[in-house]
């Protein structure tokens, strides 16, 4: 739709017209603020923990576990050099045999949510599915943060 709008404006004599083709979806997925009636509804991008530890596929579990526990976490997100989410380790996986590689012990391809999803919409889903945490990513898979069920339930209950 926006390409047609851009061309139409040019035909009306506007000399400098630009098309943000990725559009509102891209903006919302990046967790950026908006205006409008939905602006006051909390979105998960705002409460996802941005300080979640990350690791790479080829790291040794014992090294990652030490780092994650020192930071006070029980979860770590596996990302590549582009910060694209490849896997997730929660407490169960972190408790595995320390000599193994992350690639061998992670939960591959975890379910992810987009930052523009509403907190209230996800509260029941996470509780019903016993989902203690889930990565939040942009539409191209890049990590925004880790969403914790306890945070979602707390904010939804306000």
């Amino acid at each position: 739709m926006s390409p047609r709008a851009a061309w139409r404006l040019e035909s009306l004599g506007y000399a400098e017209v630009y098309d943000y083709a990725a559009g509102k979806l891209d903006w919302l997925a990046a967790g950026l603020p908006t205006e409008g009636t939905n602006a006051s509804k909390p979105r998960i991008g705002a409460i996802a923990r941005k300080d979640v530890p990350t690791c790479r596929l080829d790291e040794r579990l014992s090294d990652v576990r030490d780092r994650v526990h020192r930071a006070g976490w029980e979860a770590v997100v596996v990302v590549n050099e582009e910060h694209v989410v490849l896997g997730l380790l929660r407490a169960k996986e972190l408790a595995g045999e320390g000599g193994r590689l992350i690639e061998q012990v992670m939960r591959p391809g975890p379910s992810t949510f987009r930052p523009y999803a509403f907190v209230h919409d996800l509260a029941h889903f996470m509780v019903d599915h016993k989902l203690e945490s889930s990565p939040v990513t942009t539409s191209d898979g890049r990590l925004v943060g880790l969403l914790l069920q306890k945070d979602v339930v707390e904010v939804a209950g306000r």
Binding site: M1, S2, P3, R4, A5, A6, W7, R8, L9, E10, L12, G13, Y14, A15, E16, V17, Y18, D19, Y20, A21, A22, G23, K24, L25, D26, W27, L28, A30, L32, P33, T34, E35, G36, T37, N38, A39
Partner: protein, 67 residues
């Protein structure tokens, strides 16, 4: 020929005075729009928009996504 821009370029251009236009229907604009955007639905873009937009400043249009 209109030029495609990404999110970073949009933010820079808006900070420098570009005009931002959401071309989706009014109800979608009312729910969510980018900060500072005005709404001119695609079907309403005609000679009459001249009053809403400054011809001497860049205009950035957007809708939901590339679809």
């Amino acid at each position: 020929m209109p030029t495609d821009i990404d999110r970073d370029a949009l933010q820079r251009m808006v900070a420098n005075g570009a005009q931002l236009v959401e071309v989706l229907p009014a109800d979608e604009y009312a729910e969510d729009h980018l900060p500072g955007a005005i709404n001119i639905p695609l079907s309403h873009i005609d000679a009459g928009v001249a009053g809403a937009l400054d011809r001497n400043r860049p205009v950035i249009v957007y809708c939901w996504d590339v679809a």
